[in-house]
Symmetry: C2
Subunit: 340 residues, 2 copies
DNA sequence: TATGATGATACAATCGTTTGCACACTGAAC
DNA sequence: GTTCAGTGTGCAAACGATTGTATCATCATA
């Protein structure tokens, strides 16, 4: 059986309270007793039971990490593990633990969060809020520190870290404009994902600045990958002489799919169509051609979110705080300059 | 403040013990009281504090998940998130939580495990034991259920799930032999990783069966990627007419590196060199040429490990149990048939 | 010598649950 | 009118820590 504080107390011939204080280096304990207690604790391989400690301290040194949409979806994309890596770095450094939760078929996202918050296990919560789920409800009542990763709906009242996605949308579009492209398609818009909403705003701003009229049908949903009938839409868009010469795509996987689709129609990237992508994944790095892609720095997103959360737990944050993580456009071989 | 069992008791005009029993559907509680208590509990949004419950029940419904080598390394490879996905599926289904831990610069793997086990938070432990760390020490004393993912050193005394890596090594080599290759290089051997040790065994068996003499210098360490001087070794191996016509490579990333290296020497895959790889990653799927690669089914590895662990926690497992997860050779375009 | 300050330790309450046991009631059997 | 099941509820002791306060030496000071 594992040694308890009482065992240590008995062997060291002091009371449990003295053991507790000695091990926490409380100055009220004499040098002599302190060393004796610490020696005994080591001998018995005593580790304070965190369960008990957290109960009385009302603080667990555990943060909950919520991944949306079920593990099945989320872990499949390299973005999430990278975020987790960032969180883990800070956690291990600060001696915090991460309690993972994910929705699933048997457990909706909201239920999973409720579960996590209600359990009393966690002192704070990190929310991967890619999608707009009604998380406010289970959260509002609780006075639990929460940091979201990704821009939430009612931004001003919540804490979050994110890239400047409007800026990213602007930058990628501008990058193509600078290279002579005027007919630019926006691929992967999904109103449920704020990142794409924001990037679209930037895309539209850049076009407007360049004095180019926006073609509403050139903002294409990502669902064309799932749904083969939508391919007919793409098919239509990419035939004729006034087809797009460039594409801003919301994700490398989407981009790779597009490359394959285009190849089937004898259109090549970057000769016929230039492509700027997002997320800078390994797959995008190794596919042909290697993708010019925006690195959103998911790891840093995780680091910043965790740091902010810990500050909140320590009561160092008064008002809703937003942290912006810079992105980086990684140039590879999917964009060509248009001479006209 | 969050409602406690006492609040519910007061409002429902019963004792805390009755509340506890009513909410657990204990048959000793009358129908009338039960429904009243449950109504009140819902009204007050009462959730039992798991901390307190676990303390008295000595069971937390939390399993620890240990990733080796620091998050920095592990999460970088898609293998680990896939395992985590599998674990998460079972966990969410069984209403378990996962407590993640990872070594780091500031915290060695062994310390991290000690921390996890000592904390008293977890009822069981999942160990991603890719590498041979001396985990026995912090574990041996505890009567804590542990399942390892990956073949551990002293296999007979521990529980683990793994592929049959000897078989996988044999199968990949045989696959190349069947296609007329006789000069086969083994790339990525590392004595610290048991997977590669086992696969090498299979590789040697297959060669022996085919009556082909083993060339010891054709078993190459993975460190050639880190160390440029080792490239001179590869350089030497791949020049001359008796160079390898095929390679078994321990990982897609390694393979992609090799393809680049070979391209620099005007050798092409699969025309000049055939390549069978491991881990079936997205990058390997989208690189040129798309890799023929062994899918070790990391998700299933996670599922099986978690299921086994849960069985152990429930006391349903008496003796050290091993679970074997089948692998699958996914054929793509990195192997050609040798006509000679 | 009484008094007060100081320093070290122990006592006991607390955190929010669960659960073995005692208790009180009801109605039936003797 | 006892005794005896059987049923439903409450009491109190855990689980393993932390921490405010009381206690008790010890020693210096008046």
């Amino acid at each position: 059986m594992k040694a308890t504080i009482k065992d240590v107390a008995r062997v060291a011939r002091v009371s449990p309270s003295t053991v507790s204080r000695a091990l926490q280096n409380n100055p009220r304990i004499s040098q002599e007793v302190r060393t004796r207690v610490q020696r005994v604790a080591k001998e018995l391989d005593f580790h304070p039971n965190q369960m008990a400690r957290s109960l009385v301290r009302r603080h667990s040194h555990i943060v909950g990490v919520m991944f949306p949409g079920g593990t099945s979806i989320s872990m499949g994309h390299p973005f999430y593990p990278e975020v987790l890596r960032g969180i883990g770095q800070v956690a291990s450094q600060q001696r915090y633990h991460m309690l993972l939760s994910t929705g699933s078929e048997s457990l909706s996202d909201v239920e999973a969060v409720r579960d996590l918050v209600g359990s009393g296990y966690v002192s704070g919560l990190l929310l991967l809020a890619a999608q707009d789920s009604p998380m406010e409800e289970p959260l509002s009542a609780q006075a639990m520190p929460v940091v979201e990763i990704g821009h939430p709906l009612d931004a001003q009242h919540r804490c979050f870290v994110d890239n400047d996605n409007v800026m990213a949308g602007w930058r990628t579009t501008e990058y193509l404009l600078e290279r002579g492209h005027k007919r630019i398609l926006f691929l992967g818009y999904d109103a449920r994902f704020f990142v794409t909403v924001d990037r679209r705003k930037g895309y539209e701003q850049a076009l407007a600045q360049a004095g180019i009229a926006l073609e509403p049908e050139w903002v294409v949903s990502s669902r064309f990958m799932e749904n083969t009938t939508d391919n007919s839409l793409l098919e239509k868009l990419f035939q004729g002489e006034d087809r797009p010469t460039a594409v801003v795509s919301m994700d490398d996987t989407l981009s790779i799919g597009l490359i394959g689709f285009l190849r089937g129609r004898h259109l090549h990237v970057p000769e016929d169509v230039s492509l700027v992508s997002f997320n800078n994944t390994q797959a995008g790095q190794y596919c042909m051609p290697a993708l010019t892609s925006v690195d959103v720095d998911p790891c840093r997103l995780g680091v910043c979110a965790m740091q902010l959360l810990l500050d909140m737990i320590d009561g160092k944050v008064e008002s809703p705080t937003h942290v912006e993580v810079p992105f980086r456009l990684v140039e590879r071989h999917s964009v060509s300059v248009l001479h006209k």
